[in-house]
Symmetry: D4
Subunit: 245 residues, 8 copies
Amino acid sequence: MAIEGILKAFKEGRLDLDEAKTQISSSYFEEIEGTTIDHSRQARTGQAEVIFAQSKTTPQVLSAFKRIADNGNNVLATRVREEAGEALQAEFPDLAYSETANLASLVINEPERLTTPIGVITAGTSDLSVAEEAALTAEFYGSPVLRINDVGVAGIHRLFARLEEIKTCRTLVVVAGMEGALPSVVGGLVAKPVIAVPTSIGYGASFNGLAALLGMLNSCASGVSVVNIDNGFGAGFQAHRINQL
Amino acid sequence: MAIEGILKAFKEGRLDLDEAKTQISSSYFEEIEGTTIDHSRQARTGQAEVIFAQSKTTPQVLSAFKRIADNGNNVLATRVREEAGEALQAEFPDLAYSETANLASLVINEPERLTTPIGVITAGTSDLSVAEEAALTAEFYGSPVLRINDVGVAGIHRLFARLEEIKTCRTLVVVAGMEGALPSVVGGLVAKPVIAVPTSIGYGASFNGLAALLGMLNSCASGVSVVNIDNGFGAGFQAHRINQL
Amino acid sequence: MAIEGILKAFKEGRLDLDEAKTQISSSYFEEIEGTTIDHSRQARTGQAEVIFAQSKTTPQVLSAFKRIADNGNNVLATRVREEAGEALQAEFPDLAYSETANLASLVINEPERLTTPIGVITAGTSDLSVAEEAALTAEFYGSPVLRINDVGVAGIHRLFARLEEIKTCRTLVVVAGMEGALPSVVGGLVAKPVIAVPTSIGYGASFNGLAALLGMLNSCASGVSVVNIDNGFGAGFQAHRINQL
Amino acid sequence: MAIEGILKAFKEGRLDLDEAKTQISSSYFEEIEGTTIDHSRQARTGQAEVIFAQSKTTPQVLSAFKRIADNGNNVLATRVREEAGEALQAEFPDLAYSETANLASLVINEPERLTTPIGVITAGTSDLSVAEEAALTAEFYGSPVLRINDVGVAGIHRLFARLEEIKTCRTLVVVAGMEGALPSVVGGLVAKPVIAVPTSIGYGASFNGLAALLGMLNSCASGVSVVNIDNGFGAGFQAHRINQL
Amino acid sequence: MAIEGILKAFKEGRLDLDEAKTQISSSYFEEIEGTTIDHSRQARTGQAEVIFAQSKTTPQVLSAFKRIADNGNNVLATRVREEAGEALQAEFPDLAYSETANLASLVINEPERLTTPIGVITAGTSDLSVAEEAALTAEFYGSPVLRINDVGVAGIHRLFARLEEIKTCRTLVVVAGMEGALPSVVGGLVAKPVIAVPTSIGYGASFNGLAALLGMLNSCASGVSVVNIDNGFGAGFQAHRINQL
Amino acid sequence: MAIEGILKAFKEGRLDLDEAKTQISSSYFEEIEGTTIDHSRQARTGQAEVIFAQSKTTPQVLSAFKRIADNGNNVLATRVREEAGEALQAEFPDLAYSETANLASLVINEPERLTTPIGVITAGTSDLSVAEEAALTAEFYGSPVLRINDVGVAGIHRLFARLEEIKTCRTLVVVAGMEGALPSVVGGLVAKPVIAVPTSIGYGASFNGLAALLGMLNSCASGVSVVNIDNGFGAGFQAHRINQL
Amino acid sequence: MAIEGILKAFKEGRLDLDEAKTQISSSYFEEIEGTTIDHSRQARTGQAEVIFAQSKTTPQVLSAFKRIADNGNNVLATRVREEAGEALQAEFPDLAYSETANLASLVINEPERLTTPIGVITAGTSDLSVAEEAALTAEFYGSPVLRINDVGVAGIHRLFARLEEIKTCRTLVVVAGMEGALPSVVGGLVAKPVIAVPTSIGYGASFNGLAALLGMLNSCASGVSVVNIDNGFGAGFQAHRINQL
Amino acid sequence: MAIEGILKAFKEGRLDLDEAKTQISSSYFEEIEGTTIDHSRQARTGQAEVIFAQSKTTPQVLSAFKRIADNGNNVLATRVREEAGEALQAEFPDLAYSETANLASLVINEPERLTTPIGVITAGTSDLSVAEEAALTAEFYGSPVLRINDVGVAGIHRLFARLEEIKTCRTLVVVAGMEGALPSVVGGLVAKPVIAVPTSIGYGASFNGLAALLGMLNSCASGVSVVNIDNGFGAGFQAHRINQL
């Protein structure tokens, strides 16, 4: 829209070619201390701005968060260490911070709330942190989440006991470390898209999640696609994007 | 349903417990020369039986194909070498065989035809074989497919020229070898679920598709999930499953 | 025993120290064209001599086979290509050769026949070649074998339909390629030792069986130990050794 | 048994179909703070509940431990750090905690005590921690253990000096880091099943136990199967399971 | 030059052969506590002496720095931790230290200042540290630098908005972690040599920068060459060397 | 330029917005059997269209080659097998085909011929094929090439004997397999940009060029950047691009 | 010798067979807290007992050290952290401890002092720690050592300046990190056995010494053999063993 | 010597500086079709010229062989396929060609024959090809060789039976595939330098010799150094070089 205005101005001669190009660019970007905050992303891709806080100091996280919120946009920050989480809560009383998932979220504009649930399923309790990152991400964007925990393949009757619940979901995030076999079993039982998340839970020849990742990529079940090791955010986002369709 | 019948018979005493269990099992399975053909899969997961022909001889492929078709079910076979493809065509006049994708399909019961298209996008012409496996799989299950070829990131204007078409799709399969960067660019431009397929196209440090696989797993764009290297079938199936929602 | 004889002779002065040592050694070895055939292995470890034929020419296989058989010992040869298999059958009318398993065996002294069965279970029909190597190995040494085929985790109800049979076995060999998840599921359901065999079935990120191998090593089920990729012989041998206890 | 009761009640009309299914499920599970404690595992697989404490906080370990013990079941916890170990000891006076193995165990119901010993053999003193995890696990389940330490292949006469003792065992756990050669040598000398445990002892090209793991998987001796790097628990459990036969 | 003097002296008989050789050597080297400071490097390769401070203590860094500076040469030190940086600043008031890049530089002889700029472009703000190492290195040697930050491929319009600026540069350093796709896109848009720098930014299957490294090596764009993971210095140096031509 | 014409037409009302966009796109592309031939690449990036023939059939190579040549553009094709090379020569009498480098080139518009040479240096004669790909590529684009062969580091005096020649080059391509050490030595002796090309020459732990690749990426010499294993084309192109500056 | 005594006693009837075997064993071993100290190793292999202290606590190191020294044997301990080094020095006034090499040695019986020197050569000063481990090990066993530091291939004239000295050595230990190219160059210049030691010095694609290790294994120079990454002890020991011949 | 003549001529004015340099260079090299034959190598490093024939055509091998022989030097060629071997034998009646080792050698000047033997020991008969490459190389240079075959660690009594013979050797080459454990055992028993050669014999997780390579690098025995996978030549050469001392 803004661009149409600029183009009209260009056609009507109120802007020359160079001015037109400059205005188009500046309507998109504002560069702050080396970070190009992308205010139009929400419009362009339907995605709120997300801060990947892993390699950022607490002041950097705070400042990035503030800038987006001050523009009236919702903000999600992943891999927020406890210290930064507390600083954010002090600054934004309405902000939600999860210690389990190291995730901070601030909802300024209530998103459209979908009614079909996403299932977030874990193989073991050690996978909870990654699963919560997925679940809270999906909820932040507007999807309800059904959580099913600790139903790994070594005690597969636990999975069967929850199968009817799982079948009520529209799409599934399945989180597992070690051998990462759960998505294959779920994918064979439920005719819904499965987003598989390998976790770095394990030791020795798990090689920090490589074993689970390879297992999921080689799944003999159809309807399984995979995100990066420990990438709960990516799985929750993809599940919500599918749920939106 | 059948199971309800058996359970009723059990309750009414026409079956004892062991007979009940045996009948339930046998209603599901028929074992032929070491292959448990799973006739009820279509009902259970909404998926026709698929034959992975890579390590099978031509007679084995023919015999597995025949058994399923004779039960009146649709059949899809992937990684069918030309020789086996010709043998199948001789046996089943209505069978379609694609040399590009090494894929054979026989439709006996017309599937529900969806109206929303899936986009199948390749980075280079060398990725066509995998992309066709994805496209033909999606079409076999009932999704229309829009093919966009050779729009890799080294000539990114080619992608932009097709962007409006791409945005008409409901979900996207993006196929790329070498550095595998195309899904990230597409994922940043289009707010649709992207199923990324790394291919083994490349040489040297591509390590038979590992470079592309790792690139896609580490995508900085959200809404990208990944299937195995060269797994066009998996991507096409997952895209259709999402399209069905 | 022989050694006791030598030692007595040494004590009684019929042998001096050096002669004693020489006789002990020579009772063990006979070197033929670079291969130290180990005729006493059967006594020492309870294991017939096994020929690993992978990197041997047909004449080399024949000659090694003959030498052992001529000493009146049972022989097993693995990874015997068809050509060598036929040459062996021409030479030894009583020899059994399996094309599926590429395994040749000649029983001269009937082994002790055990009564408790070993279960050999495969995830898919493509795993049959490795599974047969395991099954025929166990049978060669004297264990009965129960074969359960094509019960992989993507259609897990097929496994449940066979569970009662599986529980009758004393120990289990579980063979799977791709993500290699079947041993975890079996190990969680049956309280028997599971010998897991990863196979090189798969493509792309299966990395010739690495994915299945890592999956099995990281099994979340207890009671699972693992042999090398495609090592059906090793699994069959280990299962029989356990069955012997 | 319980299930038979439920089925009878179903047949006699005291339960309808849905109630029957719910009761079966609930007789198995009780979900506590995200952990599905599996009280029936002991019956189903002959295995006490095991807690993998590596990624759990001290309160989480305590609470999981307590819940199982309060049900009157034996408990084993592996990878218990000293702090958690002390907390457990304060709570359960009868609990045994090994600093060497980081293992806590509480025996409430004395297990059946077997009389045939399991041998636990190490290549070097640095492997003791993993070996003790194996030995204490086997003892917890009821197997007597013979410990043979520091008999690695670089001083192989030390192994020969203990060979007669080793031959008295029914099955062997062999623990080694660095090149991981000890299981091959033991497997060639003793006709008993060998469970090989690679350890992460070493540096440089040991790649945290990968060298030992690959060495053991490629063992030229028959009768060797392998568990994950540093997985003393898995080896001790598998050895006991074999010993039970 | 010095060498010509020595050779003349040799010819004129003022030196014998051995003396000549010794003098030539000693004019080049001076060994200080195990470090052969190479005072003639600047003449020989046009490169000031560079200290790689990663595995050096603060006193070692100070002493190496002092020795070079005392000879009147410019000094650059990379991977200088903050503590060492402060110690250097206390000793050399004219020294510049960057906390972002962990780089210390002391210019004694003003280098030739080139007028054509080098572009240093990052995919994300987390790549800034490596990019600054490149930029400050290039500036130290005499190249002006244009910095373009946070224009990664997931928001590719940000790159387009800066394209005209980028095209003014003579050579480009492109810094990216995760999937490392930015150099391919830049290389396809701008006909200038691209030096690609993978960074270790990411997690899981980024394997500490391996994914980005492989991506860049497999770039489908021409005109891209690659340096080691996180090697900002190497990229800045190579870009300056090209800029000097 | 063309775009300016379109924009003017848009401003003057001869085109509406949609028509303008369509015309811009179509001036760039022409899609032929799945390959988007990019006729404007030469203008945009200064690079003739290059065909990567590795995974293409002879007819596909011929047809792609013809299409470009028919547009009056120079063509370069890499990894052209002998059969395809002969077919090309039959079709295009002026085409040059190198069996050593598997490279076909057709010059229709004589490129600007530069006068400063590029040095192409090999460690061993087995590296010649890759080196010729680099040299012929550079010559195709207009750079003269000085070839220096077989001067690997195990006989380093051979390198010194050619050093004065090497110093006359403006930039250097250094090609080596096995340990890949030559670029480090050259980079330490000559103050020119070095493009290092690892080759797959070697065996065992060379892992098809991985050893050489890692060696070059870790070069202790400054001024070395690296291309993919066996990527002679990429190195020759990059060297020419630098030479053009 | 002792064994001859035992055998005579056996022959003369003063020992029965079992007693004879027991005495032979016990003359070799004494088990102390899980460590089989091997007092006869010095006689058997010419090697003093060596303690690998990496995974041992200070009390464990002290106790192992004491036990050997109390038997009147020389002791060498590698990877001794400073704390343990100080404790050893407090206990053994004659002990030498090197902070650079983390090596402690105590000479009780002066070894035979050889006169031919071993050369220990490093590529960079960061390799000194590993090189000192090699040099001090060789000196401990009796070889004189010539140390040549910081002569890596990026400044190869530094190596040439020391070449005559190097040629006076009987065997060479060459220590290098990063690309590990120095052993190839030295091996091409000097006709002496080269023991190459890769170090973990480097970052990024050095993968903790893997790049240097692969480089050295693929050396194009003959007469180069390799030890583990950072294994200065192994190289010094091997060089001394060769020097002893 | 020649160089002294040139220097004298330079001093006496019969040569100017440039002429002197040219003459020195040309006395060393003669370039033939891209291969710099290094006629002075024998003098400089005591090593005859060796041809690595793996990637060379039969005519190329013949021509390289001829050129060296025509200069009156001994020649060794490794990895000579049978066809090339026969062509060489036709050309040089005195040439020896081994089909087992794929090695061709021509002795024109009888080397100095040493009297101390080198032991070449294999784990299995499949390792014979690599072992023969080592043995024939050592013999070519003048060392007598003692061959000990098929004494791998799974039947370790076979090794003990040959131990006295092995101890008569001055240095040992130990060749093993699969887990590569033999060098550790030999190194613990014999106080001689061991050159370990991993072979690519094995399958699955042997990863073409990687398992054996890692095992040998991590050997717990001292006095073991390692060459590349399948590098029999390198081991034989290194053993001879040590034997020469």
